[in-house]
Symmetry: C2
Subunit: 400 residues, 2 copies
């Protein structure tokens, strides 16, 4: 078999993402597809429409403190030297926090400021103002008011707000159905006793965890052998059944690389090789109007591809207004060298004291699962930088 001198592209990461996302945008991939679901099942989903309060919260005038409900006018002359006596039912009623306030009363006096003389009589020493310690109707949410805007991520707090305002169902963006096809005759389940040359297939575990966390629904295909008919059939089925098809391994230019030719058969390869380390042999394509990502096989390479390609794609589909970056500032503990022209993702471990956070780079290379298993986050070394000195301040992206 004759080998050619083959070379992958070195497209800058930002450009690669831009080309990929533009093509997907034109294919209509980012259009909102929505469904209505039970609010109690909506944790982590993203609203597809603004949601408005169906009822006010609170829906009645309520005591904001434990104490007595009174007419403020009847307390006007109370003072420490001349306390005012109030009669139960006629002048006041006992209320606990949350109790409805009878129509004739307009203020609540805290129990701490009430002196009970007998079962029917209390004494107060200070006047109170109308409205004091009363929650007005709609203080939290007025009926018709916006509860959540469209494209909001639904947390448990938002579920409380939705249910309180009578929104028992909510319109959300459909989850992207994402499939991972591990390919390679050398791959076996990690539960197996491994023969020489066999590799435990664990990238599907990263895929399943992160895709779910980022709002997609993750499906794992059985390991596909390197026979092109089997692979071709699985790929074609995946394009029919899922929104995003990720091919594991087979993305370098070696013997078993069938992803690129497969994608070309069903669509277009847009990018094959991105200027970053580790894991540059990424493939990005569109087939039958669906995104196809060739995820390199090494664990760290797969991990970087998930963080740098799959996550932004899922986030863009969700269309969140804004995301709060999970970034920690720290001091680099050891000198770091990087290759110019490539962006480098360096896994790091943090050691935080009250004074500072020290940032320790973990061993490099695409193949070390240990470097991601022990990492708290990663540093991004830009293309034009080839050294960061110990003691320099750096921004660490936390893993999440």
């Amino acid at each position: 078999m004759v080998r050619e001198r083959l070379k992958l592209q070195t497209t800058p990461l930002d450009e690669a993402r831009h080309i990929f996302f533009e093509a997907l945008d034109q294919a209509g991939f980012f259009a909102v597809r929505e469904e209505e679901i039970a609010t109690r099942e909506s944790l982590g989903r993203v609203t597809s429409r603004a949601v408005f309060a169906q009822r006010s919260v609170p829906h009645f005038r309520a005591a904001a403190m434990d104490g007595i409900a009174v007419r403020s006018v009847s307390t006007r002359e109370a003072s420490p030297s001349s306390p005012k006596r109030l009669k139960k039912d006629r002048d006041f009623s006992w209320v606990d926090t949350g109790d409805p306030i009878a129509e004739e009363f307009d203020a609540v006096i805290m129990i701490e400021q009430v002196c009970a003389l007998d079962e029917e009589t209390v004494e107060i020493q200070t006047p109170t103002a109308a409205g004091k310690h009363i929650r007005a109707i709609g203080e939290d949410f007025a009926r018709g008011e916006s509860v959540l805007s469209a494209s909001s991520k639904i947390g448990s707090e938002a579920i409380c707000a939705l249910l309180s305002t009578g929104n028992l169902r909510v319109w959300v963006k459909k989850r992207l159905r994402c499939v991972f096809l591990p390919t390679g005759s050398e791959l076996v389940a990690p539960e197996n006793v491994l023969k020489s040359g066999e590799l435990p297939e664990t990238n599907s575990i990263l895929f399943e965890n992160y895709v779910s966390q980022w709002g997609g629904s993750a499906h794992i295909h059985a390991i596909v052998q390197d026979k092109s008919t089997e692979l071709r059939a699985a790929f074609s089925r995946a394009l029919d059944e899922f929104d995003l098809v990720c091919m594991g391994s087979g993305t370098s230019k070696g013997r078993d690389d069938r992803t690129a030719s497969l994608v070309r058969e069903f669509g277009n390869v847009l990018i094959h090789g991105i200027a970053y380390h580790p894991g540059h042999p990424v493939l990005l394509g569109v087939a039958r109007n669906k995104p196809v990502i060739g995820i390199p096989g090494y664990p760290v390479a797969a991990w970087v591809c998930l963080m740098q390609i799959v996550k932004p794609l899922l986030r863009r589909y969700e269309g969140l207004h804004r995301e709060i970056p999970r970034i920690v500032q720290g001091v680099l503990a050891e000198e770091l060298r990087s290759i110019k022209g490539f962006r480098e993702f360096v896994r790091v471990r943090l050691d935080s004291t009250a004074q500072e956070t020290r940032v320790y780079p973990l061993p490099g290379g695409a193949s070390r699962t240990s470097s991601i298993a022990r990492a708290d986050g990663w540093l991004e070394v830009p293309e034009e930088v080839d050294i960061i000195h110990a003691g320099e301040s750096v921004s660490v992206n936390l893993i999440c």
Copy 2:
């Protein structure tokens, strides 16, 4: 009914936590209880023992690049002016990344540096060194090496590392079984049409979400009416069946406050009232050697109690070596006033630009679900501070 002038404690938060945790420590609550589970089911769990590699990764000498495996000695004289020809099988064999290296070879030359002349012959222009582009046995994990230390949180990356090293099962700390008992005759399921005086019970939603997220198993009891026999029976059963009992509402000193007397019946009230806002009427106790937390009923009060009491308790039980704080630095957009002597938890919304993160305080008060539904995080205003000016730099705790 005669009312007394009642007053809750104002124990500083740090002191309250200290007293509570010390008492629990003495009751043996933080002792490790462990169980062995399938590694694939261990996401988010915490190791109770150190884990060691049962096999090396890789477990064979493997090609780190696509190319040819060679004897380095046979490449010694190669140069651009006098390329070295190598014969297949005798001098080299084709290898792909991950392939095992035959015993007679000791280096791999990348395919990009190989010129194939015909099916049997290649030419190279530079020498290579022994070991080059070969992954040594155990490069990632050597057999017997530590994979995870005890008290490590297991992420998906760690699951990959555990399975790759042949650890199909793992010893983890048992989850704390935590129960939430919503109490109060005014509480109803939020799915109901609400009558005057009825409140939708939503704190259980926060409890379930956060306790699960923090490593506990969350159980929600049906709403318990304010009849002391029913409440007493439910509380006693909860103490038998769970590790942590949280009573919702009923913690202020009002009419329906039965939590304190109930706890006294079965054990001790340690703290009743913490010097923070919102939500100071927290109750901390120990009954039958188990922690009991009286969580105040207002949604924001319950939320602060979860973050400030329940989370640290679960974290302490997990005994994680270290936790990376999720903190963002920002600039306060509006002046903020706070009561001296109380720590204040102010919910905030963030607006991040490339230049800075602006921090907007949300409406205060314990009753506004809107303030937590719209929050990105919270500011902690210390006890001794009563004002923070607009433009000051502040640390925001992200919700997670």
